[in-house]
C-alpha cells in the first residue's frame, strides 16, 4: 500500500515535469508564436462613416478593377435607418453600386447613415484557420489573400468569416474577396475604392509611415472595429461607428 502510493506520487511528479517541459518548448517552434506579435500588419484601412454619402462609386470601381462577377461584391455599402421605435432597417440595393433612393417610413427616423463594408484583413483571421488546403493566408504585409490555383472551393472560409466578406466566384469556382487591391498597393497606388471616393470617407496607408493618410488617424483618433467579440482583430477600422452596426 505504502509502496504503491509512493510509486503513484513519483509517476505523477515525473509526468507533470515532463508535460511542463513539453509545453514550454512549444513557443520556440517556428510559427507558433502569437500572431498579433508579428510586425507584419503594416497597413490599415479607415472608413469614416460621417463622411460617406453613399454614392456607390467605390463599389463600381472595385467591380471594374477586379472583374468581380455580377451580383457579387468585394466591397459594398449598407444603409442603416434607426427609427424612433427602435427598429433598425438595413438595405443595400445592388451593393449600393448605383447609389440609394430616398425611403419613407411610418415612424420618424432618428438616425441614418451609410456603412461601407469590405474584407477586414484581420490579424487573426478565422477564414485562414479553417482552410483545409492552405489556400488562404496572411501575406508578408498583413493582407489576407486567396491562392486561387490551390483553392478547392469548399467554402469553409465563406462560412467562417464573421463579416460575410467572402464568396465563391462562379467563374473560377474558388473563394474570392477584397484584397485591398494587392496588385495596386504593391506598386504604390491606393486601392481603387479609395481613389474614387469623392469625400475621403475611405483612407488607406501604412501605419508606420508619417506621410500616410492613416498614420495620424490611427495614432490620434478613437477607432472602432466590427464584432470585436469574435477576436479576429481587424485592420479595417471605423470612425463614428454606431452600436447598431454589425
Amino acid at each position: 500500500m505504502n509502496k504503491d502510493r509512493r510509486n503513484f506520487i513519483k509517476q505523477t511528479g515525473w509526468s507533470i515535469l515532463g508535460g511542463g517541459l513539453l509545453i514550454s518548448v512549444f513557443p520556440l517552434l517556428p510559427g507558433s508564436a502569437h500572431a498579433s506579435k508579428n510586425k507584419n500588419h503594416i497597413f490599415a484601412f479607415i472608413v469614416d462613416i460621417e463622411k460617406c454619402i453613399g454614392c456607390g462609386k467605390c463599389v463600381n470601381a472595385c467591380i471594374k478593377e477586379n472583374s468581380v462577377p455580377n451580383d457579387f461584391y468585394r466591397t459594398w455599402v449598407e444603409r442603416y435607418h434607426i427609427l424612433e421605435n427602435g427598429e433598425v432597417i438595413v438595405d443595400s440595393p445592388d451593393g449600393g453600386s448605383d447609389g440609394f433612393k430616398p425611403q419613407e417610413f411610418k415612424h420618424k427616423v432618428e438616425k441614418a447613415f451609410f456603412v461601407p463594408k469590405l474584407c477586414n484583413h484581420c490579424k487573426k483571421p478565422n477564414c485562414v484557420q479553417v482552410c483545409p488546403v492552405v489556400a488562404t493566408y496572411v501575406s508578408k504585409e498583413g493582407v489576407v489573400l486567396v491562392d486561387d490555383k490551390h483553392c478547392v472551393g469548399c467554402s469553409y472560409c465563406v462560412q467562417a468569416c464573421p463579416y460575410g466578406a467572402r464568396f465563391i466566384n462562379p467563374e473560377t469556382r474558388t473563394a474570392d474577396k477584397c484584397t485591398w487591391c494587392y496588385h495596386r498597393i504593391k506598386k504604390g497606388y491606393k486601392p481603387a475604392c479609395v481613389l474614387v471616393c469623392p469625400t475621403g470617407a475611405r483612407q488607406f496607408g501604412r501605419i508606420d509611415d508619417p506621410e500616410s493618410p492613416v498614420h495620424k488617424t490611427v495614432k490620434e483618433k478613437m477607432l472602432q472595429i466590427l464584432k470585436p467579440e469574435t477576436g479576429n482583430e481587424p485592420m479595417t477600422m471605423y470612425l463614428g461607428l454606431d452600436k447598431e452596426v454589425r
Binding site: 510559427g31 454619402i53 471594374k64 489556400a135 501575406s139 508578408k140 491562392d147 469623392p198
Partner: protein, 160 residues
C-alpha cells in the same frame, strides 16, 4: 532466422509505404510551398502573392489625366469638386489610354449628379444636397422649365 521473418516483412512494407508517401507528397505539394510565412496564418504557396500582384491596374488617378487635360485639371483643383478623382465620374484610365478616341464615359445627366447630390436622410447633413431640380429652382427663385439640366448652370469641373 525464422524468428526475424516478420520483422523483415514489416520493414519492407514500411519502406514501401514511406517511399509511396514521399512520392505522392512530391507530386501534390506545389513548388515554393511554405517558403514564406509562419505556420499559423502565413503558410502558403510562395508564388501566389506575386501572381496576385501581377494583375493589371485600371484606375491610375488624376495625375495621369493632367498630362493631356492640364486646363481641366487646374480648373477642377480650384473648385468644390477638387477632392474628386477624374475617374470617379469618367471611365477608368486604362480604357482611355488604349485609345483616346474611345468614348470615355461623360455622363452629365441629372441622375449622374443626383447619385451624389440627391437629398437622403442617411447623408451627412453638411453635404450639399438638393431634393430635386424643381425644388432647387424654387430655392433660386427661378422658373423651372422642362428639359432643364444641372449643366445649364453648373460646370461639372467647377460647380460653383
Amino acid at each position: 532466422m525464422r524468428h526475424y521473418n516478420h520483422v523483415i516483412r514489416f520493414a519492407i512494407i514500411l519502406t514501401a509505404v514511406l517511399i509511396g508517401f514521399f512520392a505522392v507528397r512530391g507530386f501534390i505539394v506545389p513548388e515554393s510551398f511554405g517558403v514564406y510565412g509562419t505556420y499559423m496564418y502565413g503558410y502558403h504557396r510562395g508564388n501566389s502573392d506575386s501572381e496576385e500582384a501581377a494583375q493589371p491596374i485600371l484606375y491610375y488617378g488624376s495625375d495621369k489625366c493632367r498630362k493631356c487635360h492640364e486646363k481641366l485639371y487646374e480648373q477642377e483643383s480650384q473648385a468644390g469638386h477638387s477632392k474628386i478623382a477624374c475617374e470617379s465620374c469618367h471611365a477608368n484610365w486604362q480604357a482611355h489610354n488604349n485609345n483616346t478616341r474611345n468614348k470615355v464615359l461623360k455622363n452629365g445627366s441629372i441622375e449622374a449628379c443626383m447619385q451624389c447630390h440627391k437629398k437622403l436622410s442617411a447623408r451627412p447633413a453638411a453635404f450639399p444636397q438638393i431634393t430635386d431640380i424643381k425644388q432647387h429652382m424654387d430655392d433660386q427663385e427661378q422658373e423651372f422649365e422642362k428639359g432643364m439640366e444641372c449643366l445649364d448652370c453648373h460646370d461639372p469641373h467647377e460647380p460653383l
